[in-house]
């Protein structure tokens, strides 16, 4: 054994003593005042709200079928920060059924005192009809924290933005446009706003005013059923119109928000115009109007088919329609599952499917291992046999 080794051994022995002494000393000094167990919870709560009680402070009639509900905190908890383009989910109780819908926030984050959601009454709409026709100033709701990834992401998106809005899909763009202009963000925005008729156009006065006064914003209206006197662009958001209204496509980031039919057309158009996939962003839009038309729907199941849903470990069982999202069927039968996006993406409603099968469209953001282990996102799952779920 070399002298060095002996030296090291003595050092090691001493260091063990040192650690023990240090540990005892630390304990003698340690005082529980050093611990603030709430730091993490407070930091998280300031950014991520679970469910926030809100009150309708104002109802603004935007068009015949569209209203903006201005929401303010109903309790002590302040409103949450969000990114322009994100949505929040509003929880409602309609005739004893608790359900929810996600709506893009139309106000900008810089207006910290309130959050606006703008709702169009959809034909056969359950919640939208309620929010537009029934809700009045002073009504209270629960609101989720912000969700979704439909926002300008400066890390990867260019600063020239093309907004492709269809109908009430204008709402997230209003938040983005208002914020960009108020903050003088330097973004170049080209809004191409497709609407059926002129009467359906939401936020028109504000948009045309902003387009005149702000260099960074161009607004192009595209009407599919224009009035006779109309001189603007007609038709749909197809390749020809996009090409003409955007001009040089390179270096631009495209954002799409609108009904399902529009995504098909716009998506194909952008592909045709050779816009790279990474330059195209698409907002979620909830369950498709007719699931049986979606690619992959099993031909053996008719739209009118009904199946039985059982809840494992309980006596609950009830019939459900194949064409209705399972989450909606559950809510109709008094079973509440927490959820956020209701479009298959966020996974908050993730549930175990113990028996039977469901159909989920390809865009559902299911984890591979969840698929393998039999988990589903009920907000975008359609029963195609009798099923048993575990809650």
């Amino acid at each position: 054994m070399a002298l060095k080794d002996i030296g090291n051994s003595i050092f090691d022995a001493a260091s063990i003593g040192y650690v023990i002494a240090k540990k005892s000393y630390a304990r003698a000094l340690a005082d529980e005042r050093d611990i603030d167990p709430g730091v993490a919870a407070r930091a998280v709560a300031a950014l991520h709200t679970e469910h926030l009680p809100v009150r309708v402070s104002e109802v603004i009639q935007e068009t015949e079928s569209t209203k903006t509900l201005r929401l303010v905190p109903a309790g002590d908890a302040p409103l949450f920060p969000f990114r322009p383009g994100q949505f929040a989910t509003i929880f409602v109780d309609i005739d004893g059924t608790r359900t929810s819908r996600a709506y893009s926030i139309s106000s900008p984050p810089s207006h910290t005192g309130h959050i606006d959601i703008t709702v169009r009454r959809m034909p056969n709409g359950y919640v939208s009809k309620y929010l537009v026709d029934e809700v009045a100033e002073g009504d209270t709701f629960e609101l989720s924290g912000p969700g979704g990834f439909f926002y300008h992401e400066p890390l990867i998106d260019t600063s020239e933005l093309v907004f492709l809005a269809g109908g009430s899909g204008i709402t997230p763009f209003m938040s983005m446009i208002r914020e960009a202009i108020e903050r003088d963000s330097g973004l170049a925005m080209n809004l191409i706003y497709g609407s059926r008729t002129a009467d359906d156009v939401i936020f028109w006065d504000e948009l045309s005013e902003l387009a005149c006064s702000c260099e960074g914003l161009a607004v192009n209206l595209v009407l599919s059923e224009p009035p006779e006197s109309y001189e603007g662009t007609c038709g749909l958001l197809d390749a020809e119109n996009i090409d003409r209204l955007v001009g040089d496509l390179s270096g631009k980031t495209f954002y799409m928000c609108g009904p399902h039919a529009m995504y098909g057309l716009c998506g194909e158009s952008l592909e045709q115009l050779a816009v790279p996939v990474r330059r195209v962003k698409k907002e979620l839009s909830g369950p498709p109007p007719d699931i049986t038309m979606v690619e992959g729907w099993p031909t053996t199941v008719a739209p009118t088919d009904q199946f039985t849903v059982k809840v494992a470990g309980t006596r609950k069982h009830f019939p459900v329609a194949a064409r209705e999202p399972l989450l909606n069927s559950l809510e109709r039968n008094g079973i509440s599952v927490d959820c956020l996006c209701r479009s298959g993406e966020c996974g908050v409603c993730r549930t175990a499917l113990a028996e039977g099968s469901v159909f989920m469209p390809a865009e559902v953001g299911l984890r591979k291992s969840d698929l393998a282990c039999g988990y589903i996102h009920p907000c975008m799952s359609y029963p195609i046999s009798d099923i048993t779920i575990r809650l």
């Binding site: 060095k4 090291n8 051994s9 050092f11 090691d12 001493a14 260091s15 063990i16 003593g17 040192y18 650690v19 240090k22 540990k23 630390a26 304990r27 000094l29 340690a30 005082d31 529980e32 050093d34 611990i35 167990p37 709430g38 730091v39 993490a40 919870a41 407070r42 930091a43 998280v44 300031a46 950014l47 991520h48 920060p81 990114r83 910290t112 990834f149 992401e153 400066p154 890390l155 990867i156 790279p276 996939v277 990474r278 927490d338 993406e345 996974g347 908050v348 409603c349 993730r350 953001g365 299911l366 984890r367 591979k368 291992s369 969840d370 393998a372 282990c373 988990y375």
Partner: protein, 512 residues
């Protein structure tokens, strides 16, 4: 008939490992988890057409079928291993320093040769260091086989290297054998996994942790660590346990210093004489139990440990294969200098980091992302404190600035990277806090300094009768393998009480 009831708080790896062992061994187990999916950090998420691994870079202690490691055996012992596909990663790590780049291969001999090839003059010192690490690990393995207090008397004779590693830092140990600062930086380069620079990091921890990689090789989990977490749930449920998701625990009930059960977020009271908390002990003692019910000495021991670092991640889905960007390996450690203490100091700020890692998940599993694409993650280990002080309205801006710096710095080494990002997601220590509830968003519980090495950590036995801990904050500490171990150790403590073990045998920690 299952009559013994146990409740596990939190479905992280530690909690699920405890639950898997308990349910396999005759307990009726209920696991309560706040999140909609199990796993805690061991999870994945989907953005666009990409699924991202949330936390795991490479798991240790698995090993090939003919040479399985400790972690694999622990997973096997609770019916989890057979449900998971482990994919070997064919290299240990790659270091990109300002003036050289080296890939360290797997295996003791090959790794030693790679260090020596880069620094031939220090060949002998490198060899001695590797040898020491190997012996420390072997001795720790032998320690696990000690039977009872009498046998423990032989520890000093059988564990000379282990004991000598106990009180010293990694820097103290390596300085005896090697001298080139560049070699030191290369040799210690995965210190980020362990949360402290060599000048503060326990040598025992460094030696043992590196040894589990060198001995058994690093592994990736097919389908991400979410697949491992889902496998735990399957194992627990197959053995009669239940994992309740979206329903955490808000209170631990106690009567006269004894745990009687819990109250769930949904308001239900569940009676159980055995409660294993995977929620960190600080939250458990202060929020779930109430500090007035905890012995003061235990509160002191919570206050004396320093909370370890958290992580900052930039998750990237790329619209091209990794090879197009010159990324051919699994993991690249990058640095602005060789000064590891300076790297550590930067972690306490939200400024540009000087030490970070790029992980290419398609290396181990070419099917990780859709054909023609790849998934890479930039990770920096950072302290959570600075992030808790950012005003909410400045949070996004701060996190974006930070991410931009990380992407730019990585693009300098891999030109073109920034031009191919189709999907990006950023997580900060706040994100870690949100999903784990851990103070400071710590990924390792308390620091692995010499007073926090695996031997000195808080025990799995809690301060009250019927209360046990599993997870990063207690033995064996933070990390995948160690957390999985901790659950088994917590189960061991429960069994002592079930069997009425008393005295010294009860007080002595189980060795696994």
């Amino acid at each position: 008939m299952k009559t013994k009831r146990a409740v596990v708080i939190g479905a992280g790896l530690g909690g699920m490992s405890a639950a898997a062992y308990l349910s396999k061994n005759g307990f009726k187990v209920d696991v309560f988890e706040r999140n909609p999916h199990p796993g805690g950090y061991a999870s994945s998420f989907v953005r666009g057409r990409f699924e991202f691994e949330a936390a795991l870079h490479e798991i240790s202690g698995i090993g090939p079928p003919e040479h399985r490691g400790g972690c694999y055996h622990v997973l096997e012992g609770c019916d989890v291993a057979r449900r998971v596909e482990f994919i070997p990663i064919n290299e240990f790590y790659t270091s990109i320093f300002p003036d050289f780049t080296v890939t360290i291969p797997n295996g003791w001999e090959a790794a030693e040769a790679a260090y020596a090839e880069q620094f031939p003059r220090e060949r002998k010192g490198i060899s001695r260091l590797m040898n020491q690490m190997r012996q420390i690990n072997d001795e720790l393995g032998a320690l696990a086989k000690i039977k009872g207090p009498l046998d423990a008397l032989s520890i000093p004779r059988k564990s000379a290297h282990l004991i000598r590693s106990f009180g010293i830092t990694t820097e103290q140990a390596i300085e005896r054998e090697i001298s080139d600062p560049k070699l030191k930086a290369l040799f210690c380069d995965i210190w980020g996994y362990y949360g402290l620079p060599p000048s503060r990091l326990s040598w025992m921890l460094f030696a043992v942790a590196n040894a589990t990689y060198l001995e058994y090789g690093p592994y990736h989990i097919k389908g991400t660590s979410q697949a491992l977490s889902n496998a735990f749930v399957s194992a627990i449920e197959e053995n009669g346990g239940t994992v309740h998701l979206r329903n955490g625990v808000r209170k631990i009930n106690t009567v006269n210093g004894k745990v009687t059960g819990v109250v769930t977020d949904e308001g239900e009271t569940v009676q159980a004489p055995y409660v294993v908390s995977n929620a960190n002990p600080i939250t458990a003692c202060y929020d779930l139990i109430g500090k007035e019910n905890i012995p003061a000495s235990y509160l002191k021991s919570l206050a004396e440990g320093h909370i370890a670092i958290s992580t900052y991640n930039v998750y990237m889905g790329l619209d091209c294969p990794a090879s197009d960007l010159g990324v051919s390996g699994h993991e690249y450690f990058m640095h602005d200098s060789y000064d590891m203490d300076a790297h550590y100091r930067a972690m306490f700020t939200t400024d540009k980091q000087q030490y970070w890692v790029l992980t290419n998940y398609n290396h181990a599993d070419p099917e990780f992302s859709p054909p023609g694409t790849s998934v890479m993650v930039i990770t920096a280990v950072v302290d959570g404190t600075a992030w808790t002080r950012i005003p909410p309205d400045r949070y996004v801006e701060t996190k974006e600035r930070f991410a931009q710096q990380m992407i730019d710095a990585t693009s300098e080494r891999f030109p073109g990277l920034a031009d191919h990002i189709e999907v990006v997601e950023v997580s900060t220590p706040i994100t870690n806090m949100r999903y784990s509830g851990n103070p400071n968003g710590s990924i390792l519980g308390f620091d692995y300094d010499v007073t926090g090495s695996p031997m000195m950590r808080l025990p799995n036995r809690g301060p009250l009768e019927g209360l046990y801990f599993a997870g990063a904050w207690v033995r064996m500490g933070g990390g995948f393998e160690t957390c999985i171990n901790s659950g088994m150790l917590a189960y061991g403590e429960v069994m002592k009480d079930v069997n009425g073990v008393k005295g010294l045998a009860r007080a002595m920690p189980a060795m696994g």
